[in-house]
């Protein structure tokens, strides 16, 4: 039964080993009464549904109905189940995260980015450059008479006899920029054989003295850093003739444009000193059109037309042939003359040279262009980004200023109360965080429900019929005695409206009533003769109560001081005759048995049974009332169990050290946190100091939050609340300023964060309508809210960014002297930096935090706020400058490329 049970054995991925024995123990520890039957039922359910449940939630849904018996238990069961079976990531402990704003990081990041870009460029220039290889090198040869045209071996060069021919070899390939820059390191050595039988040379120029057809052979060697990269050879035919430059064309029009059907007359003239040439005319192609010196033609169609004239001096097979090309635009007369003004057609006289080759342009490596494009876009985006941030920061600052002003006016709309205390407490919503009753309290409820005999009787129908039948039909009524459940009258001393002890007794009463204990409850302040009840605003006298509730058991919840006569120190005769009318009565004192003195032992006890309010005391009391023990036995047992009670009355609990010792008396509260001892009860008490006034709801809510953090939610119970209510200042609901400061100083930052967040929740739950009529309450609530939000914001501006406005508002209230909470003011002033608080700043030197006073904080905040605006502006300007630089770099590249 107690062995771990394997759920969902079929699917390895869903196997969970359930530590059921531990879980049942935990349930028992939280007040569940786990029976063997329930465990057997749970095991049956697990076996039945093991293969059906898909996750722990479903398993919980099947198991919970077996173990729980009310809504509170259902909630507790779920929490415990989740603790045991849901592998939740433990909450990270809250550490002070406040550190200077990250503008320095932003600049560093930006500088890093820029550095990375420029380093990239440098690296590219230096390391991505590679020596040119044979594939990279493409050579070109040019005739220096026409340097832009590459030589083509298919078209022979023509030159006049005796004319100087100059050739040059160069690199034609697109090298990277760096390679181009390194052109100095590239050297081309060309050796020429001119085809005349003369010696080869590297000069590149030669004068042919005799007509003829020659073949030039050139060998180029490309050297890079004195290393041979490639060797390429080139052949070019050259025709040398005397007739070069002797052909001239005369035409009968001067413009480059002629009309359709215009009669065109051309005449070829050659040098008369040379041999007679055979003249041929070609129109728009290679088809011979006419032979003869004079050529006449007309074009019928508009467009570009080419007339070529060839002069062959040595017959058709002669190698000496001169060519003249005329390109003209023929236009249609009907067309608009404006259109005719298109650029002049070229009158290309490619004298003796073949078709022109493409012009070689300088090209840069596209990666460089992409790099500049990237930097342009990047810097432009960064510029826009920082502009938006700057604009937002600027507008935010303006908006916050306005909002703060509005909020400030709202908060301080009614005249701020100068009195240190406000009469009415804030109407917190009582959510009654107490979950399960302690087992002892359940036992007490059982004792209190015990039935007792009643004076009334009733007609027993069954017995009456039987008796009547036996009496031959004559009616014979039979009456039976009734029993009834014990009823109680609680008289609770409420020394002040905010008495936490009275509220604890209220809680006790409600809890017992929920357990079906019949209780009537009345209050009194200092005079027991005058009691009151929420439904009886005019009050009710003790005597009247004695008449009305004569058969009830009277329990007086008080220390009993008001009952004692000032002269005789025994119960005053004013009260005793009335009290004596109750057959069963007792006084339940909040004074611990360990603190009992003359008042209890001699003043009260002889006449009235007195029991301490602790659970062992209440148990003894109800045993006595149920006649399960005699009075002297009960007293003897009380004396015997003296060690169960702890002293509180004689302690100076407004001293934080004494208070801590008092809290250490609760064994459960002594825990360890990160290897260091911590008293959870003391942290709970210290956490109450975040609130200027102590209310019952505050004690419960903060207690629940702090105890849950340490995994001790079940310790939010009657016994521990009694321990707190015995602390005088908690009972009165006002913490002395000096003690409050000391408590705040000793409160762990993690717990302070939790306490303040809890307070914010409590404040938010207050219905607005409850405060509408009371500006003082509204102001108190708002100042509390602002204080808590400010505290949380300064602790972790990132996480609590939504409270930023409150931090500005708090500063304004602080400057205007509207924060009147003395302990808080001193706590935050922290002039000597003597203690850690939520303002503490992350120390950039070490991993620790350094204490910061509020003035220092405000100063650094202002600096950081203005710095941020400037930083965004500067980064925006730098980015735009970077973008402009990239743009001009691109422009320069384009210009360089031509």
């Amino acid at each position: 039964m107690d062995n771990p049970i394997n759920i969902a054995p079929d699917t390895a991925a869903q196997n969970w080993l359930l530590p059921l024995a531990d879980f049942y123990e935990a349930l028992r520890g939280n007040g569940f009464s786990i029976t063997v039957t329930q465990i057997a039922q749970a095991n049956r359910i697990i076996v039945q549904y093991a293969n059906q449940v898909k996750n722990s939630n479903e398993l919980h849904d099947y198991l919970a109905p077996v173990f729980v018996s009310n809504a509170e238990e259902q909630q507790t069961f779920q929490e415990l189940f989740n603790q045991f079976f849901k592998k939740e990531i433990p909450k990270a402990t809250v550490q002070p995260k406040r550190s200077p704003k990250n503008w320095k990081w932003l600049i560093a990041l930006y500088a890093g980015l820029a550095l990375a870009i420029f380093t990239g460029i440098l690296l590219y220039q230096r390391y991505l450059k590679r020596p040119p290889t044979a594939k990279d090198i493409v050579l070109k040869w040019v005739d220096m008479r026409q340097p832009k045209a590459k030589l083509n071996n298919t078209v022979p060069l023509q030159i006049q006899t005796g004319q100087l021919l100059q050739l040059k070899c160069g690199i034609d390939s697109a090298l990277s920029n760096k390679q181009r820059l390194a052109n100095k390191a590239i050297w081309v050595n060309t050796e020429y054989h001119w085809g005349t039988g003369a010696n080869s040379d590297t000069i590149g120029s030669y004068r042919y003295e005799w007509p003829g057809k020659y073949t030039i052979r050139a060998t180029a060697r490309v050297w890079y850093n004195a290393k041979l990269v490639t060797m390429q050879e080139f052949e070019q035919v050259v025709v040398v003739c005397d007739e070069q430059n002797s052909l001239r064309i005369i035409k009968n029009w001067s413009s480059d444009f002629v009309a359709v059907n215009t009669k065109l007359l051309l005449r070829a003239i050659t040098d008369p000193a040379l041999r007679g040439a055979n003249i041929e005319w070609y129109v728009d192609g290679d088809m011979l059109t006419y032979q003869g010196e004079t050529f006449e033609t007309a074009f019928k169609t508009a467009g570009e037309h080419v007339i070529t004239c060839k002069a062959n001096f040595g017959g058709k097979t002669s190698f000496c042939m001169l060519t003249e090309r005329i390109v003209l635009n023929v236009r249609d007369n009907k067309l608009n003359t404006d259109k005719d003004t298109v650029g002049p057609a070229a009158t290309d006289t490619t004298n003796a040279v073949g078709a022109s080759t493409p012009v070689v342009t300088q090209q840069y490596n596209p990666i460089l262009k992409q790099l500049y494009y990237t930097t342009l876009v990047l810097f432009a985006l960064l510029g826009i980004f920082f502009f938006i941030l700057w604009e937002r920061e600027r507008k935010n600052a303006l908006r916050i200023k306005q909002d703060v002003l509005n909020s400030y006016n709202q908060v301080t709309a009614p005249p701020v109360s100068d009195s240190a205390t406000v009469q009415k407490p804030l109407p917190y919503q009582n959510k009654n965080h107490l979950g399960l009753l302690e087992p002892e309290l359940r036992e007490i409820a059982l004792q209190m429900r015990k039935r007792i005999g009643d004076t009334a009787s009733f007609l027993d129908t069954e017995k009456t019929i039987r008796k009547s039948i036996e009496m031959a039909g004559f009616f014979q009524p039979v009456y039976s005695a009734r029993t009834k459940q014990s009823e109680y009258l609680f008289l609770v001393q409420e020394k002040n409206p905010n008495s936490q002890m009275a509220k604890l007794i209220n809680y006790l009463t409600d809890a017992l009533a929920k357990q079906n204990v019949l209780i009537e409850k009345y209050y009194y302040q200092h005079d027991m003769g005058q009691c009151y009840h929420p439904l009886l605003p005019n009050g009710i006298g003790l005597e009247k109560l004695a008449e009305k509730y004569a058969n009830h058991t009277l329990l007086i919840f008080s220390d009993g001081a008001e009952l004692l006569s000032t002269t005789t120190s025994v119960i005053d005769e004013m009260y005793w005759p009335i009290l004596d009318r109750w057959e069963q009565k007792a006084l339940v004192t909040p004074v611990s048995y360990a603190d009992w003195g003359v008042q209890e032992k001699e003043g009260l006890f002889p006449l009235l049974p007195v029991f301490p309010m602790d659970l062992p005391g209440l148990q003894l009391l109800f045993e006595l009332l149920n006649n399960q023990s005699q009075e002297h036995d009960a007293m003897a047992r009380l004396r015997a169990s003296r060690e169960q009670f702890y002293p509180s009355a004689g302690l100076a609990l407004d001293d934080s050290k004494v208070l801590e010792q008092y809290c250490k008396g609760a064994d459960w509260a002594n825990q360890y946190e990160r290897g260091r001892p911590v008293n959870v009860l003391f942290q709970w008490v210290a956490a109450l100091a975040v609130c200027p006034k102590i209310e019952w709801e505050v004690i419960l809510a903060i207690g629940k939050a702090i105890l849950s953090r340490y995994g001790l939610p079940k310790e939010l119970n009657f016994s521990n609340l009694l321990r707190l209510a015995r602390i005088g200042w908690i009972n009165e609901g006002v913490c002395p300023d000096a003690l409050r400061l000391a408590l705040l100083q000793q409160l762990k930052p993690e717990n302070e964060v939790i306490a303040r967040a809890t307070m914010l929740e409590l404040l938010q739950e207050i219905p607005q309508s409850e405060l509408a009529d009371d500006p003082t309450l509204l102001e108190e609530k708002e100042i509390q809210r602002i204080t808590h939000e400010f505290s949380l914001y300064v602790h972790n501006p990132g996480y609590y960014a939504s409270y930023r406005e409150s931090s500005y508002l708090f500063e304004k209230l602080w400057r205007e002297g509207k924060i009147k909470d003395g302990a808080l003011v001193t706590y935050y002033k922290n002039e000597a930096g003597a203690w850690q608080n939520l303002l503490s700043q992350a120390d950039t030197q070490g991993g620790n935090t350094k204490p910061v006073g509020i003035e220092e904080y405000f100063e650094s905040e202002h600096q950081e706020a203005s710095i941020m605006t400037k930083v965004y502006l500067y980064l925006c300007i730098i980015s735009i400058a970077g973008a402009v630089f990239s743009y001009f770099s691109l422009l320069l590249l384009r210009i360089w490329e031509g």
């Binding site: 009464s33 029976t35 039957t37 329930q38 039922q41 049956r44 359910i45 039945q48 939630n57 479903e58 919980h60 849904d61 099947y62 919970a64 109905p65 077996v66 729980v68 018996s69 009310n70 809504a71 238990e73 259902q74 919503q429 359940r442 409820a445 429900r449 129908t461 069954e462 019929i465 009547s468 459940q485 009533a513 929920k514 357990q515 079906n516 219905p767 309508s769």
Partner: protein
């Protein structure tokens, strides 16, 4: 015949009642363990309707075993005794009888008695009982059933304590002390599933609780409320949503008695009737004074005391 331990329900889409996963698991756990299901929750959270849902589902899934699609209901009173669950003996009428009728004719079976009796074949002498024909024969002679013991909190404290023995473990049995020879035991082939509801107004004895499978039904979420209202009013009016939002908001106020779903349904029906369910309701804070006044006039349906009414009125009038 089905084995009772295998009885399980899974809701059909056609059913208007949509239980949560946790509630469904609790129902199936109770069916599996053959224990009474104790449901608690605020008024209007659907406890009673849950019993009807179980009866319907069992009838759909096991029509030959659960022939009757309704729960057999026992309304607890402040004077109820445990024997009232099984039968009621009209002693006064018997005493006044001059026709010498048999004692059986003054005994009427109540819900748990009917459910146990119905699991057994009809015997001739059963017909002498006052309501055997109407309560058992009229349905079907032999059947399993769902018994609803409603609002057990109303009963005296002894009532649940006395039930302990009766509900210990199936087979359930009962006898009529006025008829010493009468003794009926449940035929286990026909399950009797007991659903008990409680408003958690006062605690029940621990021993009784230990014998039950417990589930607390939380108050429906706004989405569930919308579904409930749409089903109840047979409408699909979108303007109901802001009404539910307002109701939820008002319900969270510090009311002495929180309104339930029935009050919500009545209230929305009233708003519909008064033509107040329109766009203004979504922005009621900014509505004109007349509209707010009209809303306030309907708050009597939600508020159950003068102070509650005043609180809600203040909230609406701003």
């Amino acid at each position: 015949m089905i084995q009772t331990k295998h009885i399980q329900i899974s809701p059909t889409d056609a059913d208007n009642y949509k239980p949560s996963k946790a509630l469904l698991a609790a129902i199936n756990t109770a069916l599996f363990l053959q224990r009474p299901l104790l449901l608690s929750g605020e008024p209007g959270s659907g406890k009673t309707e849950c019993a009807s849902f179980i009866a319907r589902q069992l009838h759909i899934l096991y029509p030959y075993t659960f022939t009757y699609p309704q729960p057999l209901r026992f309304n607890t009173k402040s004077t109820s005794q445990s024997s009232d669950l099984f039968y009621a003996y009209d002693a006064v009428m018997h005493f006044a009888d001059k026709t010498n009728q048999p004692k059986e004719s003054f005994i009427a079976f109540n819900s748990l008695g009917v459910s146990i009796l119905a699991t057994n074949p009809v015997e001739e002498h059963y017909k002498k009982f006052r309501n055997f024909d109407s309560a058992v024969l009229s349905k079907k002679p032999v059947f399993g059933s769902v018994v609803l013991i409603d609002e057990i909190d109303k009963a005296p404290r002894d009532f649940p304590n006395d039930l302990l023995a009766e509900l210990e473990n199936p087979p359930f049995k009962f006898n009529i002390k006025e008829l010493p020879d009468f003794d009926v035991t449940q035929d286990l082939r026909y399950p009797v599933f007991i659903v008990i509801t409680s408003n958690s107004e006062k605690g029940l004895p621990d021993a009784f609780l230990r014998r039950c499978v417990f589930h607390h039904i939380s108050f429906p979420s706004p989405k569930e409320l919308l579904h409930i209202v749409n089903l109840s009013l047979k409408t699909n009016d979108l303007s109901i949503e802001p009404a539910i939002e307002l109701f939820t908001e008002l319900r969270q106020k510090n009311l002495s008695k929180k309104p339930g779903t029935s009050e919500l349904i009545d209230w929305i029906a009233c708003l519909q009737n008064k033509l107040l369910l329109d766009k203004r309701l979504a922005h009621w804070r900014y509505a004109d004074a007349d509209y707010k006044e009209s809303i306030i006039e309907t708050l009597g349906i939600i508020a159950k005391s003068k102070t509650d009414f005043e609180l809600l009125s203040r909230e609406i009038s701003g």
